[in-house]
Symmetry: C2
Subunit: 158 residues, 2 copies
DNA sequence: TTGACATAGGTTATACTATAACACTATATA
DNA sequence: TATATAGTGTTATAGTATAACCTATGTCAA
């Protein structure tokens, strides 16, 4: 089974399991998974496309009074710090992490046609980058890999 | 000799050679390397730190009347389209390309201490990413790899 | 040489993204 | 239940990028 996220799947279950996983993870780590943080994570998981902070904010505004940029950004910061979402740097947008339990670097395939993204999570690539950086006398801390192109589905229907 | 850019070097010559190379490249390709574009490239090469568009703009404003955001962004677009500079996505900033002659993907080491960056340009990593993406049914077009951490010099003097 | 076209740059306005700072509330726990 | 800490509300502002329209300049064919 592919874990790439471009394939068809039961999305309602997909959202639920992401939120449940976050719930469990927060419980384990003693983190406060507040209604706002939970809601923001749900909104991000509505689709496999990266969501902008202000798109999120628009939604939050329609649901609660007085939502303002910090409302969104603080929740996003919490979710990022705890590995529940990733930031796609090249899009200034956020996407749910598909395996928040295992620490890993940010690796994404981004389809420029349907705008869906898939998390790559290739430990071999991660290691190779790490090795190369270290070999150059650099102490690597965080990697961001973003590959744009065309996903399977979009290539077929072209 | 390392090509990583963190080491000491004759920087005046470094700028000059970058601009000369750009000159030659534009001549070869029939591109118009206008005074504005040349100046923006020079400003970017003033240091090996990524430069923000508005830092650049401040400098341009002090040199020419009526410089406005589009003044900077258009020159930056030209330089990027032609591989003379790269955009560091995680910093919203721009840095000179160290080998604009050879097509390659964006690979950077970014020191969070001194804020200098070095271009990695590792074809093996590039290939591995390409292979992995293709294997997942994705047609890769552009790769962006950004590694943050601590450079050699900063690690020593800590 | 001149006119037509395309490219580059000037100018104004605005959209989009993110954070600072301070007040208030909720929660955890001693 | 007092206290400390974390979370959120609220207002303001900083930082990044593009749209749209206009003028100037370079290019090239007739």
């Amino acid at each position: 089974m592919s874990t790439l996220g471009f394939e068809r799947h039961n999305h309602a279950r997909c959202i639920r399991s992401a939120v449940d996983a976050a719930d469990a993870l927060c419980a384990t780590r003693g983190l406060r998974f507040t209604p706002l943080r939970r809601r923001v994570l749900e909104l991000i998981w509505q689709c496999h496309r990266p969501v902008g902070a202000y798109d999120l904010l628009d939604q939050l505004k329609s649901e609660r009074d007085g939502a303002a940029p910090p409302t969104a950004y603080r929740a996003l910061d919490f979710l990022m710090e705890n590995g529940l979402i990733h930031r796609i740097e090249s899009l200034n947008a956020f996407v749910g992490c598909t395996h928040p339990d295992a620490p890993h670097q940010s690796q994404f395939l981004i389809c420029t046609s349907c705008h869906r993204v898939a998390e790559l999570s290739d430990p071999a690539i991660e290691r190779q980058i790490d090795t190369k950086a270290s070999g150059a006398g650099f102490q690597p801390e965080r990697q961001t890999l973003e590959v744009t192109g065309t996903c399977d589905a979009c290539a077929v229907t072209r």
